[in-house]
Amino acid sequence: MFRKFSSDDVSAQNQVKASVQRKIRQSIADEYPGLELVLEDLLPKKSPLIVVKCQNHLNLVVVNNLPLFFNIRDGPYMPTLRLLHQYPNVMKKFQVDRGAIKFVLAGANIMCPGLTSPGGALDEQVLEEKPVAIMAEGKQHALAIGFTKLSAKNIKAINKGIGVDNMHYLNDGLWKMQKLE
């Protein structure tokens, strides 16, 4: 998704009105209960919250020039990896085996076998169409943010094909964009 992403892809950015801000904040708090306590630090009510609209129905939530969250169409808000690294426990985690890291970092979607093999791990409660953090065998930090195509149970049962869509991974366009103006 963010494989090629640069400031050229920004089509509009504007400071959103308070009611929309409230809505964004609310939906983030609903999605990530663990973030609720720090949400005030992340999205201070005082400082302007900017929504950057990009191509492909992509929205970025930007505070102080730092991209913090993104979403697609009306989908759930997902944190950027830099933010997730700071608060690693807010998202449900999947773990891929070592062999998959290379492909995930090249932007590949996460296939079921990489999650069910001995090096992988699944959070059983995750349903389909949910954002998850993709961790890796032997590493402590997340390497990608995904959006499940199958529920965890189905991933185990089917064990074939794409299990999780890769939304945002290390060293993609969004990762490289540390600051947005």
């Binding site: 700071q86 608060y87 970092l105 090249a106 930090h141 290390l170 060293n171």
Partner: protein, 200 residues
């Protein structure tokens, strides 16, 4: 690595910007190695072992350059290390994802005048961004200085350039060298009759 309890701090590699533990999967692991040895040796025990085995490695190189070198043996080592270091910068080729090699652009500013409507012209400044100048700021400054319109435009092959309205050929060199001391005068070129001419 100091970790705060609340927002966790992640150690990012200064070379490839990934978290240090992912350097081995980065675009150019070789380039990250010296940084890792200095900053996060605990993540790559193999690498450290390898480094310790070869006595003439970058860590000892750095240690010596700090000033521990005293004996003749050490001096020999530094000489060897520095020769190894000298051969390194040659390989400074940026690799794009997919193994393509990116050529390093020559740092120069090219100024061109385009005549339109016979008596009006536009001065095009290319390459300021190679000196770390922010183009949007630069265009604002140029516009202010010469009291004309100046804008950042996408030129051919996706490179950004500044278009300034009017003929500002003669003042511009002085202005550029004064406002951005990083830009040396001899790196500024005019294009006259299709030929590149050094400005000063």
């Amino acid at each position: 690595m100091s970790e705060k309890p609340q927002p966790e701090r992640v150690l990012y590699c200064a070379v490839c910007s990934l978290p240090a533990e992912y350097c081995e999967f980065g675009a150019d692991f070789e380039a990250c190695k010296p940084w890792i040895l200095q900053n996060a040796p605990e993540l790559y025990p193999d690498l450290v072992r390898e480094a310790n085995k070869k006595n003439v490695d970058k860590v000892s190189n750095k240690l010596e350059s700090v000033g521990i070198s005293s004996s003749r043996n050490n001096a020999k080592l530094t000489a060897e290390a520095s020769s190894a270091g000298a051969s390194e910068p040659k390989q400074e080729v940026k690799r794009l994802p997919g193994g393509k090699i990116k050529k390093k652009l020559k740092q120069e500013v090219v100024i061109e005048k385009i005549v339109r409507n016979k008596r009006k012209c536009v001065t095009v400044v290319k390459g300021l961004d190679l000196f770390g100048v922010k183009l949007s700021d630069a265009s604002k400054k140029l516009g202010k200085k010469f009291a004309t319109g100046a804008s950042v435009v996408k030129g051919p092959t996706d490179k950004e350039q500044i278009d300034v309205q009017g003929d500002i050929f003669y003042d511009i060199v002085e202005f550029i060298t004064n406002t951005w001391p990083d830009v040396p005068g001899n790196a500024i070129y005019f294009i006259e009759d299709g030929r590149k001419v050094v400005a000063v």
